[in-house]
């Protein structure tokens, strides 16, 4: 009896089992449970669109505008140093945007990995399309990251200056920054690859044309106007001008729409940051963020231009005089990303700079003017000189795309081409276009031995 009891106790002690340690954490969904099918991958891709729709809801655009000359200094908070070109690595607003954008890149890289590693069975058409969509979205994000956190293309003649970290696969190690040239090559590679794989029609998701429109923008930023013209020539005939002055009202259904994020109502509002920043709730009170005087004056100089009605002034004549815009006075708006007007003004400037096909340039600008004035009375004559066309195209870009984050990158592009030494002929407010603070500082999390931060300060 005694021995039986002892043996029983001892055998019990050896009854432990390896499965005793296969314990799932409480209250979590693990990757192995969550990602099992083609539909799961489709849902992850959809989450990328969802996240980007939230990050491009005026937020990415706002950081660009803060650096540029379209806004007044914010009242308080971590956006003030962005405006003042003095960000440091503790700026939580800057690090939050940076992290959010790279988080989408992680998702996209993860999708590419799952599509190629064979762990999930997917059909060939799905694989081809999703791969192309991930590359399109990734290129779109990198294009903004490199423009916000690095000096622009053309800052150095060979573009060897530091760009941003390129993550093209799922990885967890710190990494050095690639050069701006390398980042643009990577972006172009992604876009070219996306163009091949994307369908012509894809519902509200990315299409071949969406990738081509992005390609035109990238070339435009690179001052590669021949390529801009080539891509625009192919795309522009497919779309027609929309008479609506405020494209935020109908971006998804507009005849100009090439790519837009889906924003369907108050509960699904993908223009929230535009609205939160610029909406004028009470006509007598300014919006949380205000426009610069220079934009206000330029936009309202000609009252025949119907777009001037978008602008308003608070406390005129007072020391506290400030300016607002009414385009975003709504509970929800749609969110245009790529559309015909952009292509028209890019092609116009490209043609003018190239000095070829000025008729097309005039035509493109006049399409914009005709809508703006709701009349062709103010159209440019067909013999307008190239230099005037360039000036007019640039002016129309400022007036057509306020708050859309275009202006500061235009000034940097122009600076790189026309003032490569930073002589002061191209200024962003009171700062030279290439001063250090015009590239936002990276978050402190990047502080590893392999990473080099941006220089700070240096802007007036």
């Amino acid at each position: 009896m005694k021995r039986l009891l002892i043996i029983g106790v001892l055998m019990l002690s050896l009854g432990s089992c390896r499965k005793w340690l296969e314990i799932k954490p409480e209250g979590t969904q693990l990757e192995s449970e969550a990602v099992q099918s083609q539909q799961d991958l489709a849902n992850i891709l959809n989450s990328c669109y969802d996240a980007m729709a939230n990050h491009y809801n005026g937020r990415v655009q706002f950081f660009n505008e803060l650096m540029g000359d379209n806004l007044e200094k914010p009242q308080s908070g971590f956006t003030v140093p962005v405006y003042q070109h003095t960000t440091n690595f503790f700026n939580s607003d800057v690090s939050s945007l940076y992290g959010d954008l790279y988080n989408v890149i992680f998702r996209l890289n993860f999708l590419q990995k799952k599509l190629s590693d064979g762990s999930i069975t997917v059909d060939a058409a799905f694989k081809s399309r999703v791969e192309a969509e991930t590359k399109f979205l990734r290129a779109m994000i990198y294009f903004d990251i490199v423009r916000i956190w690095a000096q622009p293309y053309g800052y150095t003649t060979d573009n060897s200056h530091l760009g941003v970290v390129i993550r093209e696969e799922v990885e967890t190690s710190p990494k050095a920054r690639a050069s701006v040239g390398a980042v643009y090559s990577f972006i172009l590679g992604d876009i070219e690859s996306a163009i091949v794989g994307l369908p012509d029609q894809n519902g509200n998701y990315a299409t071949k044309d969406a990738a081509k429109a992005l390609l035109a923008k990238v070339y435009f930023q690179m001052n590669n106007y021949a390529k801009v013209k080539e891509v625009c020539d192919e795309l522009i005939p497919k779309y027609t001008m929309d008479p609506t002055l405020n494209r935020f009202e109908n971006a998804l259904t507009s005849t100009e729409k090439i790519f837009s994020f889906v924003s369907t109502g108050v509960g699904d509002n993908r223009a929230a940051t535009y609205i939160n920043n610029f909406r004028i709730v009470n006509p007598s009170n300014p919006s949380p963020n205000r426009l610069s005087k220079s934009l206000y004056l330029e936009a309202t100089a000609d009252t025949a231009d119907k777009r001037s009605a978008f602008y308003t002034i608070f406390s005129p004549g007072d020391a506290s005089e400030t300016y607002g815009i009414t385009k975003f006075n709504s509970d929800f708006l749609s969110n245009p990303i790529s559309y015909l007007s952009q292509l028209k003004l890019m092609r116009a400037e490209a043609c003018a700079i190239l000095g070829t096909d000025l008729t097309t340039a005039v035509g493109d600008i006049n399409d914009i003017l005709t809508r703006a004035y709701q009349s062709n009375t103010y159209n440019l004559p067909t013999n307008t000189p190239a230099a005037d066309l360039i000036t007019m195209a640039r002016k129309q870009r400022r007036l057509e795309f306020p708050c859309e984050g275009v202006r500061v990158q235009d000034l940097k592009r122009i600076g790189a081409k026309e003032d490569p030494t930073g002589s002061g002929s191209v200024m962003i407010r009171t700062s030279k276009w290439n001063c250090p603070g015009l590239a936002l500082q990276f978050p402190v999390g990047e502080n590893t031995s392999v990473f080099e931060f941006n220089a700070e300060g240096g802007c007036e």
Binding site: V9, L12, L21, E22, E26, G27, N46, F89, S95, I105
Partner: protein, 1021 residues
């Protein structure tokens, strides 16, 4: 696959070993059997029973049993000896049948023969080859602390105890031989009667300015002894759990003969050790005005909170008075013990009310325990440990969360409590309004139960099996009235519920053999498994008239939400072999292999060996007759220990819930929440320890000197990673930490006369802590909360990493900082941060002097801590930068006119005056010397003469008066230099990082410690 084969092979080998032990017995003949006990009826383990004039003999087992076989009939003379007892001889006549004898040994115990619990067993102190400090229950009960670990302070060399803040029931921070981790836990493993108990400090997150204290439900009056295992030779037997040291708690058990009863009653008061000296209304208004004018303005400075100047002049609310009280403390304890041949029982009932000095705050514990030992047969003893407790914490906000913290910050003296119409003032912080309209209590019900079997199947073999269950049900109930919620109803109620199930079993088999009293062996093998699961739910409802406890119908219809819980398991095999030659040369080897569910298959198992030895020099012939040394021992050891205290899901990629209800374009979404790390593995420490233990003058003076070196690698860190990876934080094994130090302690009976005795216990420990590597990461890879501490290679864990403050410019009254090269600058730039201080002390210790004169006794405990810095994080808002905070009186040392030499710069209301980016500047202006010595405890007692006791039919009676934290010597100009605050952070990883790097010596409105005065009566009958 490898792990599977390894596992199977391990099982087979152990099974073979067990069976060999069982069947390695020989056939018996006539025998002398018996039991060796002490006068208290307790079995004497390991006593040698030798038949004089022969080679026959035996050693007693853990039940005190021995058997000498194969003896022929005749008269024998048995010599029974055991260390710590006087030798005895006994005549035995053996006839044709076996004879059973009972031998009672009288103690002849020296300090070095004291029994020490070592983990899965007991050793004499002289046999111990590792660094273990034992503290008796009586020493712990000297102090009226609500949680036993606070009473360890100053009593064990190398054990740093920072008592939790003045909040009742808050957790102390215990660190043994420094800090060897960053983001994994730094707390020791607590084992109660062999049960690794639930010790989750963050089960309530970080709420109200405190973290949960998992030890508060243990009744200090239940404790017989506490053993602190400090080096790997001692704690390698706990392998993966031992890197931060192990604290073994042994509860009292029945002993002696018959019933004995004890009763204790105590009552006392609690006050703060220091009172914040905040400005009154006129002082605040004057400095606010000064700042306004300094900023170039004219006229009256605007006032916050919608208060007019006249109202402000007429209102002077002392918010400190409104948020503190004189806390009441009282408690009763009743115990009963019964000893007998078969059954030993210990029972204890206690009720403690620990009111703190914070208004409305108290911790009330009601606890009961029954421990029973039943000797069923000569070969089977059954032990039961069972405790039930209820800890009820009447919570208040403190620190950053409000209450006294509000009184020290945003509750301005110009704010009234009530408006003229009798309603609460709401336009500024009004902590009274919050206190009156918040009901908050946390209740912890806990059952800790263990069943232990001790079997002696054959001669020299003992098998122990224990299974235990530690169940905890914690309910955090809150109710906010409509005054706070703003909803026109009966208020909102919230309940957080945690159900913690912690199951554990272990089985050990021990073989003991002594050959001719010279060669003494002991081999123990064992297996242990622990499984713990925490399920967390929350319930909330609107329009509830009070706490859910009082509105059960509303609880039934409340909204319930699942919260993340925990779920983990450990499986372990271990062995310990000891050998000594003539009680002179000792060697011990320990091997433990552990597997944790927190690690992936590739890194799940890890081995933790240790090897140690000691030489009792005083047993050598050449030392015999030495009149100075009564004992001299050298010991040395090496071993590995581990740490796996990370979140259960640290290695996994986790995803959004299947039903996240987030759609885009009408389609569902799925997205990752965190990165996976399949390679995450154990944090491992290599420990080295060398020590000398000595007793002088018949142990009138005993001394111990230890040197240790602990090298930790694969340090578990919750890193702030480059966000370009896609996430901002990540668990990984990075870098290394060194802890190196010396501990010295002595116990001296200075004067021993019939009427007067004076004894001194002294200890001091010096620790050098250094981060030796961070891989590619830099100082910002982990922060300790509030931007104050960082990880810096070459510096200690919890290094203050700040911009250096130089001085106030006497001409302008503006700050002058130092740049990274030490040059003066007016620019505040985070690039100029550098390592300037450390929150962990360089040296700690304590000294207890005890005096006895006839029936009177007095005990004085002084603790000390040297070489640390305090970062007074909240002071940046309490001085010359005038915001919506109140200031304290130290602000008067500010610049006013050109030529002034002052500590603080000119008053301003605009942080840009000082070149700051915001109000939250982190400079060395707030960094203070954290050294202090403190009169921790003064007890004066009177013991009733035994004759008087007899008349009252009592065994003993004692009346004592106890005062704690009476006086502090320090250069610190803040409230209290002993700072144990809550951990900040948004996730468990952050919280542990913050607990290691920011809980001690960083104060952010942290309530000071409490000063208590109490009287106590103890009687035994």
């Amino acid at each position: 696959m490898l792990g599977k084969y390894y596992f199977a092979s391990m099982n087979t080998r152990l099974l073979t070993f067990y069976l060999l032990l069982i069947f390695a017995t020989s056939a018996s003949a006539q025998s002398i059997k018996g039991t060796v006990k002490d006068v208290g009826n307790e079995p004497v383990i390991g006593a040698t029973v030798q038949v004089e004039g022969s080679s026959y003999g035996a050693v007693t087992d853990p039940l005190g049993f021995f058997e000498i076989k194969k003896l022929k009939p005749g008269n024998y003379r048995l010599k029974i000896s055991s260390i710590g007892f006087a030798n005895i001889t006994k005549e035995v006549t053996l006839g044709e049948s076996d004879v059973t004898v009972v031998v009672v040994l009288k103690e002849d115990r020296k300090q070095m023969d004291e029994l020490v619990v070592v983990g899965y067993g007991v050793q004499r102190k002289r046999e111990v080859t590792g660094a273990i400090t034992k503290i008796g229950g009586k020493e712990l009960n000297d102090l009226p602390v609500p949680s036993f670990e606070a009473a360890l302070q100053g009593k064990a060399p190398g054990v740093q105890v920072t008592v939790g803040s003045g909040l009742a029931g808050s957790a102390s921070i215990v660190r043994i031989r420094g800090i060897s981790s960053i983001s994994a836990g730094g707390d020791p493993l607590y084992v109660v009667d062999g049960i690794p108990i639930t010790q989750d400090y963050f089960i309530l997150g970080n709420s109200g300015g405190m973290n949960n204290n998992p030890l508060s439900s243990l009744n200090p009056d239940d404790i017989e002894s506490v053993e602190v295992l400090k080096d790997a030779a001692a704690n390698a037997i706990y392998g993966s759990r031992g890197a931060n040291g192990v604290i073994l708690i042994t509860t009292k058990r029945g002993k002696g003969k018959g019933w004995k009863f004890g009763a204790q009653a105590r009552a006392g008061i609690s006050t703060p050790t220091a009172r914040p000296k905040m400005l009154n209304n006129k002082q605040w208004l004057q400095l606010n005005q000064e700042a306004w004018e300094n900023d170039g303005h004219a006229g009256r400075a605007p006032l916050p909170g919608g208060i007019t100047y006249d109202q402000a002049m007429a209102t002077n609310t002392d918010w400190v008075d409104e948020t503190i009280q004189t806390g009441a403390k009282y408690g009763m304890n009743f115990s009963a013990t019964k000893g007998g041949e078969k059954l030993n029982t210990f029972m204890n009932l206690s009720h403690d009310n620990n009111g703190s000095y914070l208004a409305g705050n108290s911790f009330v514990r009601t606890a009961g325990r029954i421990n029973m030992d039943y000797k069923a047969t000569q070969w089977l003893k059954i032990g039961i440990n069972s405790s039930l407790s209820r800890g009820l914490n009447n919570r208040v906000n403190a620190g950053w969360s409000g209450g006294l913290g509000a009184a020290m910050s945003t509750a301005l003296p110009i704010y009234p409590i009530y408006n003229a119409d009798g309603t609460y003032y709401r336009s500024g912080n009004n902590p009274v309004r919050m206190m009156d309209n918040l009901k908050w209590r946390t209740e912890e019900l806990r059952a800790l139960t263990g069943l232990n079997l001790t079997l002696t199947p054959i001669k020299d073999v003992v098998v122990q099996a224990q299974t235990s269950y530690d169940y905890m049900n914690q309910t955090d109930d809150q109710w906010r009235s409509s005054e706070i919620t703003g909803n026109a109803n009966d208020g909102d109620a919230y309940r957080g519920m945690s159900f913690v199930k912690n199951f554990n079993y272990y089985v050990t088999a021990t073989y003991m053999k002594s050959i001719k009293e010279k060669h003494n062996f002991q081999v123990m093998v064992g297996n242990e498994y622990q499984r713990a699961n925490t399920i967390r739910r929350s319930a909330d409802s609107t329009n509830v008239g009070g706490l859910f406890t009082d509105n059960f119908d509303k609880l039934l219809t409340a909204r319930y939400l699942a919260q993340p819980g925990t779920n983990w398991g450990f499986l372990s095999y271990f062995a310990r072999a000891t050998y000594n030659y003539k009680q002179k040369y000792f060697i011990q080897g320990v091997f433990r292999t552990d597997a944790s569910s927190r690690f992936g298959a590739n890194y799940r198992w890890a081995n933790f060996p240790s090897l140690s030895g000691s030489w009792v020099i005083s047993e050598e012939k050449f030392m015999k007759g030495n009149s100075h040394f009564s004992f001299l021992k050298l010991r040395a050891g090496w071993g590995k220990s581990g740490n796996a205290n990370i979140p259960d899901d640290a290695r996994y990629a986790t995803y959004s819930a299947a039903s996240n209800n987030i759609t885009y374009n009408g389609n569902p979404t799925l997205f990752p929440l965190k990165l996976e790390n399949r390679n995450i593995r154990w944090e491992t420490s290599n420990n080295y320890d060398v020590a000398v233990e000595a007793g002088f003058f018949k142990d009138r003076l005993t001394v111990e000197l230890d040197y240790y070196r602990k090298v930790t690698s694969d340090v578990l860190m919750y890193l702030t990673i480059p966000q370009s990876i896609g996430f901002s934080q990540y668990w990984d094994n990075v870098g290394g930490i060194l802890n190196e130090g010396v501990e010295f302690s002595f116990k001296s009976r200075n004067i021993v006369t019939k009427d007067f005795q004076w004894t001194t216990n002294f200890n001091v420990a010096r620790n050098h802590n250094e981060i030796t590597s961070l891989g590619v990461y830099t100082e910002d890879a982990v922060s300790g909360g509030t931007n104050d501490t960082r990880v810096v290679v070459g510096k200690p864990v919890g290094t203050n990493y700040l911009i250096r403050w130089s001085h106030v410019d006497a001409n302008t009254g503006l700050p002058v900082y130092l740049d990274i090269n030490g040059n003066q600058t007016s620019v505040y730039d985070n690039k100029n941060r550098t390592a300037v201080g450390q929150i962990i002390p360089k040296a700690i210790g304590g000294m207890t002097n005890t005096f006895r004169y006839k029936q009177w006794d007095m005990s004085i405990l002084i603790i000390y801590s040297f070489g640390s810095n305090i970062y007074e994080s909240s002071q940046k808002r309490q001085t010359s930068l005038v915001t919506d905070w109140n200031m304290d009186e130290r602000v008067y040392d500010r610049w006013q006119n050109p030529g002034d030499v002052s500590k603080f710069p000119r008053m301003t209301k605009d942080y840009r005056t000082y070149g700051l980016p915001d109000e939250w500047s982190n400079t060395t202006l707030w960094l203070k010397d954290g050294s202090y010595a403190r009169l921790r405890n003064l007890t004066v007692g009177y013991n009733l003469p035994s004759a008087n006791c007899k008349r009252m039919k009592l065994t003993s009676m004692r009346i004592s008066a106890i005062a704690t934290n009476i006086f502090t010597w320090t250069n610190y100009d803040g409230l209290d230099p002993e700072i144990g605050r809550d951990s900040e952070g948004g996730s468990s990883g952050d919280l542990n990082s913050s607990r290691n790097m920011g809980s001690q010596n960083i104060t952010y409105l942290t309530p000071p410690q409490e000063k208590t005065f109490s009287v106590q009566i103890n009687i035994e009958f």
